[in-house]
């Protein structure tokens, strides 16, 4: 389509932004969305900081009940998955659609693996009665109740974001198939990559504050 122009008094043309296809706008909008996500998690980190300040020793002790190796393994997995996702976008821009598709699939698979391990961890903790509302936990020190309350809320919310991420990757695959994403039009894929980086970054903060303060 031809670039639309607006003309000033002297008749000089000035380009008009087309809202149907505005690369800068779509990217900017997504950054603002990520900002709202940061505020969402930010409030939880604030709560964690305040309660950690009040119950420092109990929090460190409760942290010892988590499986740091499982959490650490998950950190590595997530790190790898952001690499494959970034690479997928790069491949798409280099017109290498087939490897791009493969890399997105690998990312989705690693994300699913992350969830499986996370589920295993939750299973172990729930088995030991360390979950909100459980009689075992409620009989423990208040710092522990708060630690596990925050742990399940924050990793749960993060887990929801991982699930949403997998859904987005499936959507990306469908869009690649239908031509909605192609080497010269990758904005959706770039935004999903940004989102996935954000989800990974949140975990990078969650891991030390929950798993490592007791080490």
């Amino acid at each position: 389509m031809q670039q639309e122009m607006a003309y000033d008094v002297q008749g000089t043309p000035h380009p008009v932004t087309d809202y149907h296809d505005d690369y800068g706008g779509e990217k900017f909008g997504f950054w603002i969305f990520l900002l709202t996500e940061a505020m969402l998690f930010g409030a939880l980190f604030l709560l964690f900081a305040i309660y950690f300040y009040r119950h420092t020793d109990t929090f460190a002790e409760a942290s010892g009940d988590l499986k740091v190796w499982l959490g650490g393994f998950n950190t590595v997995i997530l790190l790898l998955s952001t690499y494959t996702m970034g690479l997928a976008t790069l491949m798409m821009r280099r017109k290498n659609v087939r490897s791009s598709v493969l890399l997105v699939k690998i990312t989705a698979a690693t994300a699913a693996l992350f969830l499986a391990i996370k589920g295993l961890e939750w299973g172990i903790e729930i088995h030991h009665g360390l979950y909100p509302g459980a009689g075992v936990l409620d009989a423990l020190d208040k710092g522990k109740i708060l630690f596990f309350g925050l742990y399940f809320v924050m990793t749960g919310l993060h887990g929801l974001h991982v699930i949403a991420g997998i859904a987005l990757m499936v959507w990306v695959l469908l869009l690649i198939r239908s031509g909605g994403i192609r080497p010269e039009h990758t904005i959706v894929m770039k935004n999903v990559t940004l989102y996935w980086d954000f989800v990974h970054l949140v975990w990078i903060v969650l891991f030390p504050i929950f798993y490592m303060i007791g080490v």
């Binding site: 639309e4 008094v9 809202y19 505005d22 909008g29 996500e37 409030a43 809320v153």
Partner: protein, 548 residues
């Protein structure tokens, strides 16, 4: 001329059915009207709840309401007015309609996201209202959902909390859409300081929506998890701290009051130049004060908690910041008054509402400064003084400005003119009624009448009875406004593109506007409110090339 009423773009292609054409439309103008329809229905429901409470309060002692029913009524009134009406309020309705027109754009940046916001809004409304008919009745917590009561009460709080969460999401998406639109879709040549001031108001509002709403979203989510799973983050029996709930709640909900008033201030700055036939006084200071109100307003939440346990240092800081936020607001008021000076004032209906709102808001704003003072606040906290203060700012301010804006853009939206005489009468009735209703409550609060009680001491009877009469007048005034709009729609005269001889871009296109607004995008290298000898200084030919 075919307008957006005749043709539209929908999210799923074409529909034959006109209802489907409306509810799936991605045209910002249709979405604005969709919001208006739902929102004003809810507004009148909440007014009904308020009138019920006022008639209960006409005599001391129990009349016809149970105390718990009264608690549910004020919660319903508060939740509906705040979350369903005034927070989405002006941005979702007038903002949605006018923003792209004033920018010289064909739509918002993300039209489909805009439709999604409306659908989320409807989902929130349905979720919220569902608790009226299910469970143990509507929430009785007040609109603030303070923990730990909101965790313990057996009333049906969950749907209301979920509704507030969903509405927050809708509001965030609208804010995001507006920020991107304002950054990306200004007509070529229109710099930030050439934008109309209503756009500035919406811009500041949109940033608050984006930055503050997630905080209340997660806070309400935590209360939901507390009730369902027993997480305990705000539950003192489990080590949680209810004061933290209050902090997190007000981190959003105080900026939210600026979110209610800033777009309304924008309307004032649109209407004043038009009906004084001169440029606005202090354009830059009004624009920047909107931004600084949004900025400072983010840091004053603690003044809601002077009586609930904070260190003295924190109290003094919050009190100081509260005084500080009055400065940019004062700047605006002085700019508006200075605009009137030596202007050719036309007392048309929108102008009357705006002038009335400036008077009301000045009273509301100054009593806010009174409440921001530590000593005074301890005495006045949780009394009718506070209730009168925020009704002066929100009802007397925002809603008066909103109604003024509705009158102002009515010809643009409908293409028709309303009855001017009836419009003025409605304003008179409402202005007198409003002040009769709320001014006595300052006195009642000052003398110690607490808020949120279904009963009061007999000494307060005359004050409550005067207020009761005022409430009746307000109801009559609102009825006249609605009747006037209805009659204008039915047999109003044709308005033409620019009935007010206003200057901003929306008045250069037909009323009602066509689909996609502008056939050609104009080049905007002029200030928004320029008059020459009482006529708009800038005019375009049919191709949107400047001829004057």
């Amino acid at each position: 001329m075919t307008s957006f009423y005749h043709e539209t773009a929908t999210v799923f292609g074409t529909h034959k059915n006109p209802i489907l054409q409306w509810i799936f439309s991605i045209d910002h103008k249709r979405i604005a009207l969709l919001y208006m329809g739902v929102m004003f229905t809810l507004f009148f429901l909440a007014i009904g709840a308020a009138l019920t409470m006022r008639s209960e309060l006409f005599f001391p002692g129990a009349q016809f309401l149970e105390p718990k029913t009264y608690n549910q009524l004020f919660t319903f009134h508060g939740v509906t007015m705040i979350f369903l009406f005034i927070v989405p309020g002006i941005p979702a309705t007038l903002g949605n309609f006018v923003l792209p027109l004033q920018l010289g754009a064909r739509d918002l940046s993300f039209p489909r996201l805009n439709l999604l916001s409306w659908w989320l809004y409807v989902l929130g409304v349905v979720t919220g209202l569902s608790s009226l008919v299910t469970g143990h009745g509507f929430a009785d917590t007040g609109w603030t959902f303070y923990a730990p009561y909101s965790i313990r009460t057996d009333a049906h709080v969950l749907p209301t909390l979920s509704a507030a969460f969903i509405l927050g999401l809708s509001s965030i998406l609208t804010g995001l859409n507006f920020v991107v639109t304002i950054h990306r879709l200004r007509a070529p040549g229109m710099t930030f300081f050439k934008m109309p001031l209503f756009v500035w108001g919406l811009y500041a509002t949109a940033w608050i929506q984006v930055l503050a709403t997630p905080v209340v979203g997660i806070t309400l989510l935590l209360v939901i998890l507390e009730r369902t799973l027993g997480v305990g983050i705000f539950d003192p029996t489990k080590g949680g701290d209810p004061i933290l709930y209050e902090h997190l709640f007000w981190i959003y909900s105080h900026p939210a009051v600026y979110l209610m008033i800033l777009p309304a201030f924008g309307i004032v700055s649109e209407v004043l130049p038009t009906f004084t036939r001169r440029t606005i006084f202090g354009y830059h200071s009004i624009a920047i004060s909107s931004a600084s109100i949004a900025g400072i307003g983010y840091l004053v939440w603690g003044h809601h908690m002077f009586a609930s346990g904070m260190s003295d240092t924190a109290r003094v800081i919050f009190s100081f910041l509260t005084f500080l936020v009055a400065i940019p607001t004062g700047v605006k008021i002085f700019d508006w008054v200075a605009t009137l000076y030596k202007g050719s004032i036309v007392l048309a209906t929108p102008m009357l509402w705006i002038l009335g709102s400036i008077i009301n808001f000045t009273i509301g704003g100054l009593t806010g400064v009174t409440l921001g003072a530590l000593g005074a606040d301890i005495h006045l906290h949780d009394t009718y003084f506070v209730v009168a203060h925020f009704h002066y700012t929100i009802l007397g301010g925002t809603i008066f400005m909103f109604i003024g804006g509705l009158y102002y853009w009515y010809p643009k939206i409908t293409g028709k003119l309303y009855d001017e005489a009836l419009g003025r009468t409605a304003f008179g009735v409402m202005f007198i009624g409003f002040n009769t209703l709320w001014f006595p409550m300052f006195i009642a609060g000052y003398l110690g009448n607490p808020r949120r009680y279904f009963d009061y001491l007999p000494t307060f009877t005359p004050l409550h009875q005067i207020a009761g009469i005022g409430a009746l007048l307000v109801a009559v005034g609102l009825f006249l406004v609605v009747y006037n709009f209805y009659r204008g729609l039915k047999d109003g005269r044709e308005a033409g593109p620019n009935p007010w001889r206003a200057t901003t871009l929306e008045w250069h296109i037909p009323s009602p506007p066509p689909l996609e607004n502008f056939s050609k995008i104009p080049y905007v290298d002029f200030d928004p409110y320029e008059y020459e000898n009482g006529e708009p200084a800038v005019q375009f030919d049919e191709n949107f090339r400047r001829i004057r």
